[in-house]
């Protein structure tokens, strides 16, 4: 950048004053990507402070309790990581779908489908040795979630059904289906007259092993991070990823280039669902009860990770690796919310509301971010290269939903 800067500066001495300002902007360019979402969270947190004030709680002690409960010690950090796992897994799936131009709001349903499928695996093969059963339940979860995601994919690709609507409907179906299974086919026979919606204690061979150390942290954390790395490779280091992103960027152009757009849509939603499905398996076999339980409805099981994962993915700029710290942050909000509730009697629902505000601010600021970035980049490359648009790797904007026209390919 600096050499170009010099060339330009010599040629455009009369513009020096203006140019200095712009080159400062060029220096800022790498930070613009981070500044806007962080700023959005800060604004959201200050709105949260206003809410705490109106609820009669001191925002400083409130946020202190939140931070302490989330990051204040090894146990807290472990709990935060455990809460972050489903967010990370769902978030990686969201990156894949959104990058392919498919809006997947079906994380909740895909988590449930994965949980059901993995539970069935553990119930059918309880005596398989641990070294096999743990991978089997995880794969079972991925297949369950993947199939649940592929259904809206097929509906979108071949019947033109808006995937936002179909994935939401699939959430409702999955929630009721889970409730049915836990009262009927999969219910805990030992529970007798007490009607708790839960399965029996599943095979101990499927328990996710605890990691060394004295915390509740289990293998799921490693799996989630591994899947984030795999998601990164899939999106940015594989031919499939290039195709998915091309379709997300411009479906028509991809079609003219001979790419199978319909197949890509189904694949994107299937992979996205598979990630959420693994989250479902991790929630079951990493839980302390080692059962599939729906406490007070299906959202008691998923802990709304299907929605919060979207928040983490957006915050991570739709890059799987960046979703790792983002989900850790939001996992911290969730664990911290519990100590907020315990210490200040502020309901943890505050965190859900805050997450909503974060989504609004992050999505609302994407356009601003793009403008700022192209302004900053324009300063760096200047007239030498024209106003080049930023590389798509670093300008994650959820693409407009891919539209499938009547006469599109197969």
């Amino acid at each position: 950048m600096n050499t170009k800067h010099d060339e330009r500066a010599s040629g455009l001495a009369q513009d020096e004053q203006k140019f200095r300002g712009r080159s400062a902007a060029a220096l800022l360019a790498p930070f613009v990507g981070l500044a806007v979402p962080v700023g959005a969270v800060l604004v959201a947190l200050s709105l949260g402070a206003v809410m705490l004030l109106t609820l009669g709680a001191n925002p400083i002690t409130g946020y202190a309790a939140l931070i302490d409960g989330a990051f204040g010690g090894w146990d807290e950090l472990a709990d935060t990581s455990i809460k972050a796992m489903p967010l990370l897994l769902v978030g990686v799936g969201i990156c894949i779908a959104f990058r392919a131009g498919v809006i997947n709001i079906g994380g909740e349903g895909q988590i449930i489908a994965g949980a059901i499928a993995s539970t069935v695996v553990a119930l059918v093969l309880p005596d398989v040795s641990r070294i096999l059963l743990v991978p089997l339940v995880l794969v079972g979860g991925a297949i369950g979630g993947g199939l649940w995601g592929a259904i809206p994919g097929v509906l979108k690709a071949y019947a033109g059904v808006n995937e936002i609507l179909s994935t939401i409907m699939m959430n409702l179906v999955a929630a009721q289906f889970l409730s049915f299974l836990l009262q009927d086919l999969l219910t805990d026979k030992a529970s007798g007259a007490i009607k708790i919606q839960q399965t029996e204690r599943l095979s101990a061979n499927a328990d996710l092993p605890l990691l060394p150390g004295d915390t509740r942290l289990h293998l799921g954390v490693m799996i989630a991070i591994l899947i984030a790395v795999l998601g990164h490779i899939l999106l940015f280091r594989s031919a499939l990823g290039v195709r998915l992103r091309a379709v997300g960027h411009n479906a028509d152009a991809s079609r003219y280039a001979g790419m199978p757009v319909k197949k890509s849509i189904v694949q994107a939603l299937a992979f996205s669902g598979a990630c959420a499905g693994v989250a479902g398996a991790v929630l079951v076999f990493g839980s302390e009860s080692h059962r599939l339980i729906a406490e007070g409805g299906a959202s008691g099981f998923t802990q709304s990770a299907g929605f919060n994962g979207i928040v983490a993915a957006l915050f991570g700029g739709l890059s799987p690796l960046a979703v790792v710290p983002a989900s850790f942050f939001f996992g911290g909000m969730l664990t911290g919310g519990i100590s907020l509730q315990q210490e200040l009697q502020v309901p943890a629902a505050l965190i859900v509301a805050l997450n909503g505000i974060v989504v609004l601010f992050v999505v609302g600021s994407l356009k601003l971010q793009t403008r700022l970035r192209s302004w900053a980049q324009g300063a760096g490359s200047g007239s030498l290269r024209g106003s080049e648009s930023p590389p798509s790797d670093h300008a994650p904007q959820p693409a407009d939903s891919v539209a499938i026209s009547e006469d599109s390919d197969g």
Partner: protein, 310 residues
């Protein structure tokens, strides 16, 4: 165990179907107006929850459902303003910003409910208003003319919304802005002002839908709407962006829900199987969407922000 196919049960089911259709209809009509102008508001569920809570809480405190409804209208307008800012000025992606509204509504109403109300306290909702003469017709009167005011209001809106969209200048602007905003802009129609109006109308109607729900059941609880706002959006597609189509969809869903409830009450289906039956509306939506999606065209500029500079 009772018998479902008796006249009195069928009449009661249809009447309750019409009652249950009302929130779908109010929210769906509002969303129709918004989508005709090219704006998708996926946050209907959240707005409904906020409207439901404000109507419930104000009614609980003041003892008057009228204040509750007025409160819901104000809340609807406020969220509409916020959504308009995010959508029109910040040009946020509409499919996702709606999820933000949903999460905010879900969390915020739960927060306020736990903090200010705690244990569920029932309120006295709106009483039924029997339409003179008509309500005396046997069976028919019971099904159609013995409801609370929001029910009549919602169904009266169906022809009004049709008239507004198809026969007024404002409606023409809405359709123009929703199909080709650039052309409308060239002809001097303010795209964003028109969309601001439709967003405010849609948000207020979603809030009223929540209020109607809360006043009908006389109680509030966490996630009271349980997906009804999302179904209302699907009904707009179902009804092919036409008010009568949305009404048909709302009635279908209301009656399916009423039937499920009735079968449960009568003990014909119990426990686990009622969960299975409760899947019906969502499955039905998916099937219907699969059938109609290719046959009807959405407004041309749906979800596309308008930027004159671009």
């Amino acid at each position: 165990m009772g018998d479902f196919f008796t006249v009195s049960v069928l009449v009661a089911t249809l009447a309750s179907g019409i009652r249950l259709a009302t929130p779908f209809l109010l929210a769906g009509l509002g969303e129709t107006i918004g989508q005709r102008s090219g704006v998708l508001n996926l946050g209907v569920e959240g707005v409904m929850l906020l409207g439901a809570f404000s109507a419930y809480y104000i009614t609980l405190e003041t003892g008057s459902a009228v204040y509750g409804i007025l409160g819901a209208i104000v809340v609807g307008l406020l969220i509409g303003l916020a959504y308009a800012f995010i959508t029109l000025i910040m040009q946020a992606q509409q499919g996702i910003s709606g999820i933000g509204i949903y999460l905010f509504g879900l969390g915020f109403t739960d927060l306020l409910f736990q903090k200010n109300v705690g244990t569920p306290k029932p309120i006295r909702g709106l009483g039924e208003v029997n339409i003179p003469l008509l309500s005396d017709i046997p069976k028919v009167g019971e099904i159609f003319f013995q409801h609370s005011l929001p029910v009549y209001f919602a169904f009266a809106l169906v022809p009004l919304v049709w008239f507004m969209i198809n026969k007024t200048t404002f409606g023409l602007n809405i359709r123009a802005v929703g199909e080709t905003p650039e052309a409308a802009d060239t002809l001097g129609v303010s795209v964003n002002r028109t969309r601001l109006a439709t967003i405010l109308i849609g948000s207020t109607m979603a809030s009223l839908a929540g209020a109607a729900l809360a006043l009908e059941v006389g109680i509030f609880q966490q996630n009271l709407t349980s997906g009804q706002g999302f179904i209302a959006i699907a009904l707009v597609y179902f009804g092919a962006w036409r008010s009568y189509g949305v009404m048909l969809g709302a009635l279908l869903f209301g009656i399916v829900q009423a039937t499920v409830l009735q079968l449960k009450t009568l003990g014909i289906v119990e426990g686990a199987n009622s969960s299975l039956l409760a899947m019906a509306p969502a499955v039905l939506t998916i099937v219907v969407l699969a059938i109609v999606s290719r046959r009807v065209a959405a407004p041309g500029a749906l979800t596309r922000p308008f930027d004159r500079a671009a």
